[in-house]
């Protein structure tokens, strides 16, 4: 059993507190992605999990046991580093075999395990090479092989794909996820790339300024972001935000802002007169004859399949993703519509989700 549980974890460097009260649990076999912008503390949290960084407050449990002061080698973890951290003076074989060699395992067993990992990772032909003779993707795989042969319950990945080009990254993403499905190790994966998080994670833990802002499945986080921060962070192109107020005249509640008037679902909990921010994803907006949002096209960007229209709605740049056939010329007045259930409402003061 290799669950990982964080109980009120905090981290300070001297007098500077960079993280506090992190509490969540990763179940056995789960693939959890720690997501957040640089400096949010996700790598520090991972390094604390590995034992490379001391824990200033709280308890870290791995497999049900408190491991705060336990040496990294005794934590039942394997880690893949951002810069691979391969041993430069050792061959690929020795790099992968190192943990078994220092544990004084029998030679035959070491060979078998290394060959097993090399087979899975397509490294069989490269075992005699040295790290400097490998490409970025191959080095990445050696780093993974090194983690695989350790037979541990928990895999830690620290932005493992950030040094690869886009195509290779997409490929390795699939490989890592397949490897996880095959080995079934509990995985903690740190990234700042939301595509990686959305495609790979069972659960995403979104961090900001040393705290967790939302935790949930990729669908939950995408569909029901609990704050303006989460809503703006997840999704590309980013969600459009319009500041306005709630109006309840005529019975049904509606969102009102200059150039915008959107009817809200009847069960909305927003109070009349409350200052709110309305969020709507660029894909949820559509061009209509008579819509609640009016503006003028400023710019049209083709991304391939779709076109991103930048629409000026009362001075705000609002992005709409439409099929290529609906491309619009700049300067054209436009009317947009949105389905009531695709609208996200946030309190403007607390920035928390209302409905």
């Amino acid at each position: 059993m290799s669950s990982v549980e964080y109980i009120g974890i905090g981290k300070s460097f001297g007098a500077v507190e960079v993280m506090r009260d992190i509490s969540f649990k990763i179940e056995d076999h789960q693939f959890v992605v720690l997501l957040g912008p640089s400096g949010c503390g996700k790598t520090t949290l991972l390094r604390m999990t590995a034992g490379l960084e001391t824990i200033s407050a709280g308890d870290l449990m791995i497999g049900g046991e408190k491991v705060n002061g336990v040496h990294p080698r005794d934590r039942d973890i394997a880690m893949v580093f951002q810069n691979y951290a391969l041993y430069p003076t050792m061959s690929v074989f020795d790099n992968i075999a190192f943990s078994l060699q220092v544990a004084k395992k029998p030679k035959a067993e070491i060979r078998k395990k290394v060959e097993w990992a090399a087979e899975i990772l397509n490294l069989t032909d490269y075992l005699k090479r040295y790290p400097k003779e490998l490409s970025g993707g191959q080095r990445q795989r050696v780093a993974m092989g090194r983690a695989m042969v350790r037979d541990t319950g928990v895999f830690l990945f620290d932005e493992p794909l950030s040094n690869l080009d886009a195509k290779l990254r997409a490929h390795m993403r699939i490989e890592i996820r397949q490897l996880h499905n095959r080995l079934k190790a509990t995985t903690v994966y740190v990234t700042h790339d939301q595509i990686e998080a959305m495609t790979m994670a069972d659960v995403i833990v979104l961090m900001h300024k040393g705290a967790i802002v939302q935790m949930g499945t990729p669908d939950e986080i995408y569909e029901r972001p609990n704050s303006i921060y989460v809503a703006g962070f997840i999704g590309s192109p980013a969600m459009n935000f319009i500041e306005g107020t709630i109006d309840a005249r005529g019975g049904a509640p509606s969102f009102e802002a200059p150039g915008v008037s959107i009817a809200l679902p009847a069960n909305s909990t927003a109070r009349p007169g409350q200052p709110v921010t309305l969020g709507v994803r660029p894909n949820d907006l559509a061009i209509a004859e008579e819509g609640p949002i009016r503006g003028t096209v400023i710019l049209s960007e083709t991304t391939g399949q779709d076109v991103q229209l930048h629409v000026d709605v009362d001075g705000r740049d609002t992005i709409v993703v439409v099929p290529r056939a609906e491309r619009q010329a700049p300067g054209k007045p436009l009317s947009l519509t949105v389905a009531p259930e695709a609208v996200h409402l946030f309190d403007r003061q607390s920035e928390a989700r209302i409905a």
Partner: protein
């Protein structure tokens, strides 16, 4: 035409020779001429009664084989070279590992460690000559106090201890040099492999032998090379502390060459001995460069 144009025209040349001339001149005057003159000298000998150099053919070179003094001094040189290099390397590495830390105060420690290097070796030799004095030397006193040395034993005048006494000064002064080079290498090592090794479960001992030493091999090789070449021509300490004695216990090759040249006015034989030293250093250094795969 402005002044700068004039200046520019005077210093512009497409041919490399004018640019190389200063360096060539320095090389010729200070390296090539002395070397060629030394080789020429080794086939001559100074004859005092005629006050002139006379051609002697290969006699100086042939004389080497039968010269027991030469073989003795060569043996002493090799012992001195071997022990000093080994101790300085091991000790230097140990101290460098201890000083490789970022805690406050370590920068200061690294700084004061290099202070021995500002003392001229001859002065360091005189310091140790005094400290090893049987009457009032502090080292003699301590060694006697802890029972390692019987009272009234003059370290530098006792055949068994004299070389060790000289080596003490040598090692004290030059270990920091080793530390300096090795520390620079250690400070430049990447930290990630060490973190990976921690997770992989390597003990500090395993980490040192399987990570640090291989990653440091080039730096170690260069340190050994520089120090080794320097050690082979040891002169100052021996000259100041023992003048080669007692007997031939500390009589090194450089001292022998010096004595032949300047005390016995055997310029030809002195030149031959110094050329032998040069040849030995060249051969050892080149074999070492090949074996240790040091690339420049």
């Amino acid at each position: 035409m402005t002044t700068s144009d004039l200046v520019r025209r005077r210093v512009v040349s497409d041919h490399p020779l004018p640019w190389l001339m200063p360096l060539i001149a320095i090389l010729v005057v200070f390296t090539i001429f002395p070397l060629v003159y030394n080789i020429w000298l080794s086939f001559h000998e100074f004859v005092p009664r005629r006050r002139a150099l006379e051609w002697v053919g290969g006699r100086n070179w042939a004389q080497l084989w039968a010269d027991t003094r030469f073989w003795q001094s060569l043996t002493v040189t090799f012992i001195y070279f071997g022990i000093a290099l080994a101790v300085e390397l091991v000790l230097g590495m140990a101290i460098a590992l201890l000083l490789d830390a970022d805690e406050p105060g370590f920068g200061f420690l690294r700084g004061i460690l290099t202070m021995t290097l500002v003392i001229p070796p001859a002065i360091a030799g005189m310091m140790y000559l005094l400290m090893e004095d049987p009457q009032f030397g502090v080292i003699s006193y301590v060694l006697k106090a802890i029972g390692l040395l019987s009272p009234a034993t003059p370290i530098l005048a006792t055949t068994q201890y004299a070389l060790a006494g000289v080596l003490l000064a040598e090692i004290w002064q030059w270990t920091p040099f080793m530390v300096l080079i090795l520390l620079a290498g250690l400070r430049a090592l990447p930290s990630e492999p060490y973190e990976a090794a921690m997770i992989d479960g390597a003990s500090p001992w395993q980490t040192f032998w399987r990570l640090t030493m291989p990653m440091m091999s080039k730096v170690i090789a260069i340190a050994v090379l520089i120090r080794g070449i320097d050690l082979f021509r040891v002169f100052d300490y021996v000259f100041v502390m023992t003048s080669g004695g007692p007997g031939t216990a500390t009589y090194t090759l450089s001292l022998y060459a010096w004595q032949q040249t300047f005390s016995f006015v055997k310029w030809g034989y002195g030149a031959t001995l110094s050329l032998v030293m040069l040849l030995i250093v060249l051969i050892i250094a080149n074999v070492f460069i090949k074996v240790a795969k040091v690339r420049w």
